[in-house]
Amino acid sequence: MTEASQPTEAEVYASYQLLLDGLNKLFFATKDPADLRILGDLAQSVSDILTENNEVHLEANSGIFLKLTPPMVAANKKLQEDKKAVAAIIDKVGDVGKAAEALTKVLELTAKFA
């Protein structure tokens, strides 16, 4: 005899959702306030179970979001450093011109003593 496998979380959720959909359909087909109240309370109980499941799921994800933050921050830091390195390269292109200007001034000075 094979053992029946446990339903997955998604399957359990889907079965509660199906139950809620059925109760809602019944609710909107009812007119009597007393019956509506019973059906409404029942639907709200099932709805609360689904809400709790969603809250637990979102809370579990919060922890994973936190774990994803350090690599994102590290990548941003590296990109900022690379941006500075690029700016330094651009500055160096200008430095050749600045060196030439400095050399001109030296030549001007030495010419006076020639």
Binding site: N61, T69, A87, K92, E101
Partner: protein
Amino acid sequence: MPRKAFLPVPRAGRRYPLQALSVLVFVAACFLLAGCSLSLTPLAKHTAAFSSATNRVIDSSTSAYRAAIDLHDQEQASAGVLRVLQGDTWDPHDTKPLISPLGMAARLKVLDALKSYAQSLSDLTSSLNSKEIDTDAASTGSGLKELSDEIVSEGGAAKFGFSLDAQGAKIVSTAAKAIGDFLVEKKIKGSVLTVTREMDPHIDALCGLLGDDVDTLRKQSKKDYEDLLRQQMLYYRENEKQLAVSERRDEVQKLPAILKNEQSTDALLSGLQVAIRRLALTHHALAAAALGKDTEALNARIADLAAAGEDLGKFYGSLPSK
């Protein structure tokens, strides 16, 4: 010394700098040719498009979280009010947020980091289009020309064998720019390649997680709207005999309005799920394109992502203002 025999004998008027200049121009031309195959302009455009679409997806995700939290608060308040009207007790302090403040802070932190990442990629790749490098290269050429003019005026041209006219200065500027562009491009290409490759699995995981969150928000929002519908109907049925006709009309009309909001929200969240999936695929294509692989695929992904971003913008634009 015998070694000296191998050295060229300097002659008056010989123009070494011009030979050097030729070598410089040749090297620059090689750099330029190498640069052409690695052209950064499309990459800069792609990273800018990626950044802009990422911003839209993240802003939409943040709005979706806030809207889902507000809706859930509204549902709990509506259920509480109904309970009070039915003679039961209700403590408004018992209202519980759908996502805890800490959980929301964790999400906002990582989403902001993703936004910064996309923006930094775009900023970095746009460095090559910076006018600064053109200005600096031009100053290099003019600086050398001034130096040449100075030597000539001192009668040293023959001695140093150096003269540089306006045309020569322009060549030096071009060469300096080519070398600068090459070095900058090499650095940017290397950086984008490394960072996008390292980040790709993290972006994939983040988009998977975000997609999973939005799936939960979608289920929860649908359920909260259905709860609101039920509570409104119950309120109406329990009180209809005490209401005037116009009041009854107003109360019943609230039902289709709630349903319409439910449908708009679901469509918006569904569009957001598509955009998040496309964001992951686009980053993957961006990492592949930085390796020089399949840039056509990247173009297609960028277009898909931009379209998804535009759709999200339209959805938000169509929502009634509160």
